[in-house]
Amino acid sequence: MFYVKTKIKNNNRSKFCPLVHEKSLSNKFLNFCFFSGNFEEKTNAMSDNILEIHNVVKNYANHRALDDVSLTVPKGVIYGLLGPNGAGKTSLIRIVNQITAPDAGRVLFNGVPLNEKNIYEIGYLPEDRGLYKKMKVGEQLLYLARLKGLSKDAAMDKLKEWFIKFDIKTWWDKPIEDLSKGMQQKIQFVATVLHQPKLIILDEPFSGFDPINATLIKDEILELKEKGSTIIFSTHRMESVEELCDYIALINKSKKVLEGKKLDIKDQFKSNTYTLNYEGEMADAALNFNILSNQKNMDGSQTAVLKAADGKFGNDLLKEILEKVTVKSFKEDVASMNEIFIKAVNESN
């Protein structure tokens, strides 16, 4: 029994200790982390992870929506939760929101098992938006804020700030049904973040917004992150993942396929190819690279895609190339989120 327990603990540690390291804590602390049996208890209250999901399983009548999914969301980041339709993202989000409970596994919020109080610390913008159509904007926001535990006065103060910020003061007494879809979305966004939650879960936050409002919301999301909130961001739009997310996780067919820092994952998925624009003549240099493709441009220059040999990097290639041709540009090919998404999903299928 004891053996099993320590094993699990070590597993957990190996997951989040690198993060501790990033925050440049001393090695002493790390040692303490590994050798003190009491560690988990002590750090629970001040976990560096706002959310830890351990081996969660969720079954519905005819299918398994989540199969042994584990995720770790560090504090203060924008965390992209990606996956094709029906992969299990919404099931996971509903578990975090305590709308449903997992059949197995644990969820820790700020180091402590998820409980009712956490509801007040989470803001949730579901993919299917909706508000009371006949209710007035102001009353509605006040009601939703109070359900999230704000006092009437506190809610009023916060609301005033947001109404000034979004310049929507004249909307207060309008029923929701009189507003355009985009306007309703704005109201809903305000309702999601009004109680200054520590964790904000946004399911497709940009759908239905025009570019101007999308930018406005994007800036708000970044500002919320500045202020210390953590944002879980579920979307299909890879360009916004590219732009905003620090971390990503990919779920496919009820299972986690990928998780980690966006940059690390990009690294992991890089093809080790380089695009070279040059003038002159060039052939394979088997020791360093192979030429995958080569094409002549209008201006007489040529563009080649080079595949580096194992253990060789940009500098090695450049050294060799510089002796032979005139280099106009040289760039490492980085996988786009779109490519990573498609590749990872196809691989896991």
Partner: protein, 448 residues
């Protein structure tokens, strides 16, 4: 708990502020007042007397047709052809022709009229003639007038209920009226407010706000908050209706009553002047009698009300009103959560509405026999007890029966609320699927 209060508050305030609520609350008593006024108006207008001329060739009925508020009978000596000719354009509305051989051939009586003969006039004439023929025949058979008089007794019974507190005068009529009204109100409120709960749950579901709400509160809290909120709206509306309609009725009857007396006096005086002296006397007599009766009847009715267990009635009305509503609104709520739009509710509504309608129909029998087996059983079963027990209570119900019925009803609505909450929590997140009964059953046993 705090959240439940917030939900109740929202449900209550948004409903009470609605225009439809205000309109209905004010219109209700006004409609009642209008109905009341309508009855009074009908009473006034019926004073409009019809004049009927009678040609009695048998000479048996002179003076036997009593004039009333509706009809004045005048006997004529003329031949039938002349009278028929002169009916048109005369002041008379109808002509009754009694042939000479009426005793042998009683089917030969004819009533002529320009505008068609009312049933009332026909039956009145027939009755008077039948009665008279009966008397004549009985006399012929040797029965004297005094024997006949003594045989015609006016029977009117007084119902008395035996109780521990001794004999009490009770009025079966008053009891059945009160019981019927209470049962009807409960029947109505279950439908009105139960449907409100259902509709508003479907609305929250289709507008998708429900997912935001249940990320803040538990589905059960949301459902209970809504049910209680609507219950308070119902109590408010009934309370206002009672206050307003009492106000309208007392104020209105005072106002209308005075006017009524004046106009009645003025009208009848004018009419009397146009009547022959004989009829005048009769009409006067009749009026005095009528006035006397209605004045005597009022304290009688109030006296009967006093004998009813009023406190018990009021307390149990409140209880069965709330209990019946809770029981059914939870079920309505479950239906509301299972469907995607109002139009899909039909298939699930039927099994819920059948017991209510059945209870209301059984109530008609229970009024006639409040202590039958059927009455006792149906006043215990929680699905029918709110209506049936309310019918029985004004007649007096043994305490143990009330206690059992109350406990069963409490158990009943706890059960339906539990059942509904199991369906509700799954239903509100289930979109775009035609739900079947089998599926609803499965939802009950889902883990959360």
């Amino acid at each position: 708990m705090n959240n439940i209060l917030l939900i109740i508050q929202r449900e209550y305030v948004t409903r009470v502020k609605k225009k439809s609520f205000i309109v209905m609350t004010i219109l209700g008593p006004l409609l009642m007042g209008l109905m009341y006024a309508g009855v009074i108006w009908a009473a006034i207008s019926s004073v409009n007397q019809k004049k009927v001329e009678v040609l009695d060739e048998s000479n048996l009925f002179k003076g036997k047709f009593k004039s009333s508020e509706e009809f004045v009978f005048v006997f004529k000596d003329d031949n039938i052809a002349n009278l028929k000719k002169s009916l048109k354009g005369s002041e008379f509305d109808a002509l009754v022709h009694i042939p000479a051989n009426v005793l042998e051939n009683p089917k030969d009586i004819k009533i002529y009229s320009e505008k068609g003969v009312t049933l009332e006039l026909q039956s009145r004439v027939e009755n008077a003639i039948e009665k008279e023929i009966e008397t004549i025949k009985l006399t012929e058979a040797g029965i004297t007038k005094s024997v006949l008089e003594s045989a015609k007794m006016d029977v009117s019974s007084e119902t008395i209920s035996l109780k521990e507190g001794g004999e009490k005068k009770s009025s079966a009529a008053a009891a059945s009226i009160i019981g019927g009204i209470c049962a009807f109100l409960i029947y109505l409120s279950v439908f009105i407010y139960g449907a409100q709960v259902m509709r508003s749950i479907t609305e929250e579901k289709t507008s998708r706000i429900v997912e935001i709400l249940i990320s803040s509160v538990k589905p059960f809290q949301l459902m209970i908050g809504k049910i209680v909120g609507v219950a308070l709206v119902g109590l408010t509306q009934f309370g206002l209706w009672i206050i307003l309609s009492t106000g309208v009725l007392t104020f209105g009857s005072k106002l209308v009553g005075d006017k009524l007396m004046q106009s009645k006096n003025a009208m009848t005086e004018a009419q009397m002047a146009s009547l022959p002296p004989e009829a005048q006397e009769m009409a006067k007599e009749k009026m005095q009698q009528g006035g006397g009766i209605s004045a005597e009847m009022m304290p009688n009715l109030f006296g009967a009300l006093d004998t009813l267990p009023l406190t018990t009635i009021i307390v149990s009305f409140l209880f069965y009103f709330v209990g019946g509503y809770l029981l059914y609104s939870a079920l309505f709520g479950a239906v509301g959560s299972a469907v995607d739009s109002d139009t899909d509710t039909q298939q699930f509504m039927l099994p819920i509405t059948i017991p209510i309608i059945a209870a209301f129909m059984i109530a008609q029998f229970v009024i006639r026999d409040p202590n039958s087996n059927l009455a006792i059983w149906t006043s215990m079963i929680p699905f029918t007890s709110p209506i049936i027990m309310m019918v029985r209570i004004p007649f007096g119900v043994p305490v143990w029966q009330i206690v059992v019925s109350v406990l069963l009803l409490i158990g009943g609505f706890i059960f339906t609320t539990w059942l509904a909450s199991r369906i509700y929590r799954v239903g509100i997140l289930m979109y775009g699927k035609k739900v079947t009964w089998k599926e609803l059953g499965k939802w009950i046993f889902y883990k959360s």
